[in-house]
């Protein structure tokens, strides 16, 4: 894309000169001219009284140019023949974006098993690009990055979404680098700017203390990753039909190879993500005594126990229980936060819970901003009552 002055229309009034923050417009032979200082910020576009300044979009131009983007794509991650849950969540978000844009929603599926393609369609996809090539059966960055980049270049989607899983976070950046386009990590919400059609990508910034809206205005596709459990699934329609496009025998190679895969309950995977109810404690729990109360409540409720980073750093509970930006993202039906202040880094890990109960003695604590029910009080007083009453109700 570039900005052009129509010299036939330009009257040399110089109105546009002040509009440019980069001093990129000069007067030459009585006409405005855009110099190489232009940053394509578009500030000059609407200031010309004669309408002589316009943006010109080139088709198929190389490098960092806006392509003729069409449609929204979701990378549907598959490991051991099972599609990762985050893929269905991305379809929920992607469906919404595609509907706003009046565009198609497609999913890209790598690996021999095609069983999942149908499910992806029922969860909202119109089209599936499925590549069963053997080299994609196990995850290696180079073949994944190469094939996805090739497909994007062939079909030119406007938006590409992927899960911020170990797989997505590892190879999607390579795709963005190869395509010379922007990538926004760990988005917590996605929307379309109704005026410009740009993707609005919201993510925590500055260590998570604040949220930022990120744009990728000039290059395509606009790419974003989203953590598991942040977006909600869309509507499941068992009768939904779509098209599966098979892609095979691509020339792809890899300089890395997976020798072995070892399954182990690592710190990254604890059943927290499947829990319906989570009781979480922070620094306000004060130590092991406080956590003992949390465990008692959890037991009475049939819940799992989670923690803020402060509590983990204090050594009161193991890292695998940590919820938040550098821990797990959870989305239970009920999340009970006890003695947690509600730093953004914690919030991004639990905000999508259906119901949030906050117990905190400081009425100003930011956790109350996201709470469905707030109790201002000392957890050492509230929790024993809570435990007693739950036990009574359940006849324990």
């Amino acid at each position: 894309m570039f900005i052009r002055v129509n010299t036939d229309k330009c009257t040399g009034c110089e109105t546009c000169l002040q509009s440019c923050p980069y001093d990129a417009i000069i007067m030459k032979d009585g006409k405005a001219e855009i110099t190489e200082l232009c940053q394509l910020c578009r500030a000059c576009l609407n200031v010309c009284p004669e309408g002589a300044i316009s943006e010109v979009r080139e088709e198929g131009a190389p490098g960092k140019e806006k392509g003729q983007g069409k449609g929204v794509w979701v990378f549907a991650e598959q490991r051991d023949g099972r599609i990762a849950d985050v893929s269905f969540e991305l379809l929920g978000a992607g469906r919404r974006l595609a509907d706003i844009l009046g565009a198609e929603l497609s999913a890209v599926l790598f690996g021999s098993s095609e069983d999942g393609a149908d499910e992806l369609i029922k969860w909202g996809a119109d089209k599936i690009y499925h590549c069963p090539d053997e080299i994609l059966g196990v995850f290696n960055d180079e073949p994944y990055a190469q094939l996805l980049s090739d497909l994007i270049q062939e079909h030119k989607p406007e938006i590409v979404l992927a899960g911020a899983t170990p797989v997505g976070r590892s190879f999607i950046p390579r795709v963005a680098a190869r395509l010379n386009t922007g990538l926004t990590a760990d988005c917590t919400s996605l929307d379309i700017d109704r005026e410009t059609g740009h993707l609005l990508q919201v993510r925590p910034a500055f260590g998570g203390n604040i949220m930022a809206t990120i744009l990728c205005p000039l290059t395509r596709p606009q790419m974003a990753t989203v953590r598991p459990r942040v977006m909600k699934r869309g509507v499941y329609d068992p009768d939904r039909k779509g098209e599966v496009i098979r892609i095979s025998d691509r020339k792809i190679s890899s300089r890395t190879s997976v020798k072995d895969t070892v399954k182990e309950a690592s710190d990254l995977a604890l059943n927290l993500q499947e829990a319906n109810i989570i009781v979480a404690g922070g620094r306000g729990a004060g130590g092991e005594k406080g956590f003992a109360l949390l465990y008692e409540l959890a037991e009475a409720l049939g819940a799992s126990v989670a923690a803020s980073r402060a509590a983990v750093d204090e050594g009161w509970i193991a890292y695998r229980h940590q919820v938040g930006q550098t821990g797990k993202t959870v989305g239970p039906k009920l999340y009970i936060a006890c003695g947690i202040s509600g730093a953004v880094q914690h919030l991004v890990g639990m905000q999508s819970s259906d119901i949030i109960v906050a117990i905190n003695k400081n009425p100003e604590a930011p956790i109350f901003n996201v709470a469905t029910y707030g109790i201002v009080g000392d957890l050492f007083e509230i929790l024993p009552i809570f435990i007693r009453k739950v036990r009574e109700a359940k006849g324990l």
Partner: protein, 261 residues
């Protein structure tokens, strides 16, 4: 063997707070540290050099002039050389432009192994490492939690995954991004601290790189920050009132009504 470790100087974000009135960040008095994951990257580089009994470890950082302190700290741990990429032309780089610039510098320095932290704690994107590898057109392995072997132009490492780990072999040159489990970073020795004081830090500017100027800094960054804002409160929030007993009673009633329990 030439090892380049990319380190970033970051504000100790655990200390960054928001001024609730002005909605701006309070960064005064917040200390700068080497990104914690990059400490593990440095340690990994030093261990590889020691195991091989030969080679050099270069630490590379892109940042403002004061990022030199991070490189001196790395010297105190025992690296051979620090390179500081500093130029106003680099200001405002997003991950794409950062990775592009670092890749150009690494081409200049030369490397068999490049090590990055898994992510930087100020941005938490985890994108720069894999993007550097793509710009250099070399393979990478992310989330490395153990180095199993390194010899004859190939390396075998363990890559942390959600459900365990993969054992991955790669040819050299390669880029690794590392997690905390990999090692325990060493403390600087007394000798190291002396060396750090005297060390000459090599500086590189945009003109020292064979780089496309349009791909640097703010101008070269495909992404832009449109605005920043503080997270908002939920609209349907209910604060429960009364004595502690009453509050818990109300809560249980609400939850029962929602069939939560």
């Amino acid at each position: 063997m030439k090892i380049v470790v990319c380190i970033k100087q970051v504000p100790d974000t655990a200390e960054v707070r928001i001024n609730p009135e002005t909605n701006t960040l309070v960064r005064d008095g917040v200390a700068s540290i080497i990104n914690p994951y990059d400490m593990h990257a440095l340690e990994a580089g030093l261990q590889m050099r020691e195991a091989a009994g030969a080679g050099t470890v270069t630490a590379l950082t892109m940042g403002p002039p004061q990022a030199e302190n991070a490189l001196r700290e790395a010297v105190s741990m025992g690296i051979d050389e620090g390179v500081l990429l500093t130029d106003r032309a680099f200001a405002g780089s997003d991950t794409w432009a950062t990775a592009y610039t670092l890749a150009k510098a690494i081409e200049h320095i030369g490397a068999d192994i490049i090590i990055c932290g898994k992510q930087a704690i100020d941005g938490d994107t985890a994108q720069v490492g894999p993007e550097i590898a793509e710009f250099l057109q070399i393979p990478h392995v992310a989330y490395v939690r153990k180095i199993d072997s390194l010899k004859d132009g190939s390396i075998i490492v363990q890559r942390l995954m959600d459900d365990g780990y993969d054992i991955v072999e790669s040819s050299l040159p390669v880029l690794l991004t590392v997690v905390r489990e990999l090692n325990v970073p060493r403390m600087p020795s007394l000798k190291g601290k002396m060396a750090a004081k005297k060390a000459v830090i090599r500086q590189m500017k945009a003109s020292d790189l064979k780089a496309d100027v349009n791909s640097l800094g703010l101008q070269g960054s495909p992404t832009q920050v449109r605005n920043i804002f503080a997270p908002e409160a939920k609209k349907d929030r209910k604060m429960l009132e009364g004595s502690s007993e009453e509050k818990v009673d109300q809560l249980l009633k609400e939850l029962a009504g929602l069939k939560c329990l």
